[in-house]
């Protein structure tokens, strides 16, 4: 992402992570550098070895064609775009409240689920295929409304009363809110997945710059990039965006300037909700189903992305999302296949967390963070 995104950094000098806090003591030891260098060489060696061995395989031995790699990359980028949009919600809220809103994955799920009923009705009436643009616009508006409503209610009912409580308390509340939301959707709509309709214009492939990609993936990428540019512009240049950054940097002084901090916090949750709602529709169109558990894995992936990129940083969340998406799609086949591991894609989550740990060892504040560990 462009360096100008740094201008949208929300967090000041603070940052997350218990593991990282422990590293702080470790850092002062003189042999820290030596260990890091050795670790770097080992990791680099494994990556290079695995990659070379994978690329040395031919098709019958389990190797991949050039087209397969291209598909992995496009698939990873599209997934990553969705993770990035969700990650922004985590990061924005963290920047302002220094709190991880673990229920954000459920904000995403609620929007997607809510929009399903409209999408389904429009599919049955034929409206979805007659005017797909208008139908999808309405469906997206519904998703956004449900996600924003969920996020704002969470803030109001679950987090605001705990604003001055110790940090662990809202964290536990967030986990409780996650269970509440998941079980509420399960209770009202059942545990089964629902097939999410997709307009026929989005079926099949399209050739962009000589590369065949699925139409849905193209839609995901275009919409996500537009959303991120608009968000960056909003935070960097508007009066409300400025007040968000002011509250993130010094809440007390922001308040003394006449900024209504409560309102800024609500707006921040609402913006996270807008992005989660749009991401919910994009995700549902990609996987063509919704279910009450659908928020969990993307939520974790997006949270990881936010930490990887440097939590509190807008550019970091965007970058982190794409990096995680690409790592999941490309990393396991590229690096692990060469070692003869039979089912590389089952290892994608383990792989991503390994990368997260390694990144935080070398850059405790995340890729675009301050380079410092967050003090908890």
């Amino acid at each position: 992402m462009a360096p100008s995104l740094r201008g949208g950094t929300l967090a000041g000098t603070e940052a997350p992570h218990v593991a990282v806090a422990r590293l702080g003591r470790f850092e002062r030891l003189p042999w820290r550098r030596i260990i890091l260098v050795v670790l770097g060489i080992v990791v680099g060696g494994v990556v290079v070895l695995g990659t070379l061995r994978t690329l040395g395989l031919d098709r019958v031995e389990g190797g991949y064609s050039g087209g397969a790699w291209r598909d992995f990359i496009v698939q990873g980028a599209a997934q990553g775009a969705i993770f990035a949009m969700i990650a922004l919600g985590y990061s924005l809220v963290y920047g302002i409240l220094r709190m991880i809103n673990f229920a954000h994955g459920e904000v995403f799920m609620a929007g997607a689920f809510g929009s399903f009923f409209f999408a389904d009705a429009y599919a049955k009436s034929g409206f979805l295929n007659r005017s797909p643009l208008l139908a999808l616009a309405i469906v997206t508006l519904v998703a956004v409304a449900v996600s924003v409503g969920t996020a704002v209610l969470l803030e109001r009912l679950a987090y605001r009363p705990l604003r001055n409580a110790p940090r662990l308390v809202p964290l536990i509340t967030a986990i409780g809110a996650t269970l509440f939301l998941q079980n509420a959707f399960r209770g009202f709509f059942g545990p089964q997945p629902y097939g999410y309709p997709k307009p026929t214009v989005l079926a099949g492939n399209i050739t962009v710059l000589g590369v065949q990609i699925q139409r849905t993936q193209l839609l995901v990428l275009v919409v996500a990039v537009i959303c991120m540019i608009v968000l960056q512009w909003f935070v960097a240049t508007t009066r409300t965006g400025r007040s968000m950054r002011a509250v993130a940097q010094d809440r007390e002084i922001a308040s003394l300037m006449g900024i209504n901090v409560d309102r800024v916090i609500v707006v921040t949750f609402a913006i996270g909700g807008v992005l989660a709602g749009i991401a919910g529709v994009l995700f549902s169109l990609s996987f063509e189903q919704v279910q009450f558990t659908m928020g969990f894995r993307p939520g974790i992936a997006a949270f990881t992305a936010a930490v990887l990129g440097g939590i509190g940083s807008i550019g970091g969340a965007a970058l982190g999302g794409f990096v995680i998406g690409l790592l999941q799609a490309v990393g396991p086949p590229l690096i692990l296949t060469g070692f003869g591991i039979p089912s590389v894609f089952s290892l994608k989550d383990a792989f991503v967390f390994l990368v997260l740990v390694l990144v935080l060892v070398f850059r405790p504040g995340g890729l675009l963070g301050t380079g410092e560990a967050e003090k908890v």
């Binding site: 400025r242 002011a246 940097q249 007390e252 300037m257």
Partner: protein, 243 residues
């Protein structure tokens, strides 16, 4: 006292403020008249900052009233008090470090909508502090202490306050900068602002102020003209050191 000046622009009437159960201000009475420069002196943790926060509505007094221009403002939101013409230069300057000087100034005018009035306030700031104009695009966190103090004052002036509150503007600055800061405060006063300044540097503050209050553990123990306070033996002993 000085009733011939009409009603004060800012009054604290028997104000008590608590943090939880702890009384930090006790029965504080103050009045400040338009165009005056009044200082509030006191040692560490005597309740000076709390007095300013109480005026701004950031904390609500448990008893008594803050009266601005004849209207009771205690109980109103900080935003409302700022809108009615009070702004503050906080202790330790507290600029938004990752924002540019330009953005810090804009935040000072956060509640104002009239673009031409904001532009005029900016010009006033630049006239008072020509250095600020040169630093507009720089991140506030990278400025020197003296420059930060100018931006902090500029930010407070952007609200076009009737009453400007300053919390220990000399704190943490080298002695030569302290002199400069007090020169600047005189200039601000020439803009016609009413200034209420909190200081531990009693000598400096009394040399530019008209009147002063001395506060100890949340209670006003002395209130007099700057001249008289400088002569007061109690003051000389407790706050002014060896004159």
């Amino acid at each position: 006292m000085t009733t011939e000046r009409g009603a004060p622009i800012l009054e604290l009437r028997n104000v008590s403020t608590h943090y939880g159960l702890v009384a930090v201000l006790r029965d504080v009475d103050m009045d400040i008249y338009a165009g005056e420069m009044v200082c509030l002196l006191g040692g560490n943790a005597s309740g000076k900052t709390t007095t300013l926060k109480t005026i701004l509505g950031y904390v609500t007094p448990s008893e008594g009233d803050v009266v601005l221009d004849g209207n009771v403002v205690s109980g109103m939101s900080t935003a409302e008090v700022v809108r009615r013409g009070v702004s503050m230069v906080p202790e330790n300057r507290r600029l938004f470090p990752d924002m540019t000087v330009e953005e810090n100034l804009r935040l000072g005018a956060y509640l104002r909508r009239d673009r031409s009035a904001i532009e005029a306030a900016r010009e006033t700031v630049f006239e008072t502090f020509p250095r600020v104009r040169e630093r507009l695009k720089q991140k506030a966190g990278t400025l020197s202490g003296g420059e930060q103090q100018m931006v902090a004052m500029g930010r407070a002036l952007m609200a076009d306050p009737k009453v400007l509150l300053m919390d220990e503007p000399s704190m943490g600055l080298a002695p030569i900068l302290v002199e400069q800061v007090f020169e600047i405060i005189k200039k601000i006063r020439e803009l016609g602002k009413t200034v209420f300044i909190v200081e531990q540097n009693a000598n400096m503050a009394l040399s530019i102020a008209d009147r002063g209050y001395v506060i100890q553990t949340g209670q006003v123990v002395l209130a007099d003209t700057a001249q008289n306070l400088l002569q007061n033996p109690l003051m000389r002993e407790a706050y002014l050191g060896e004159l």
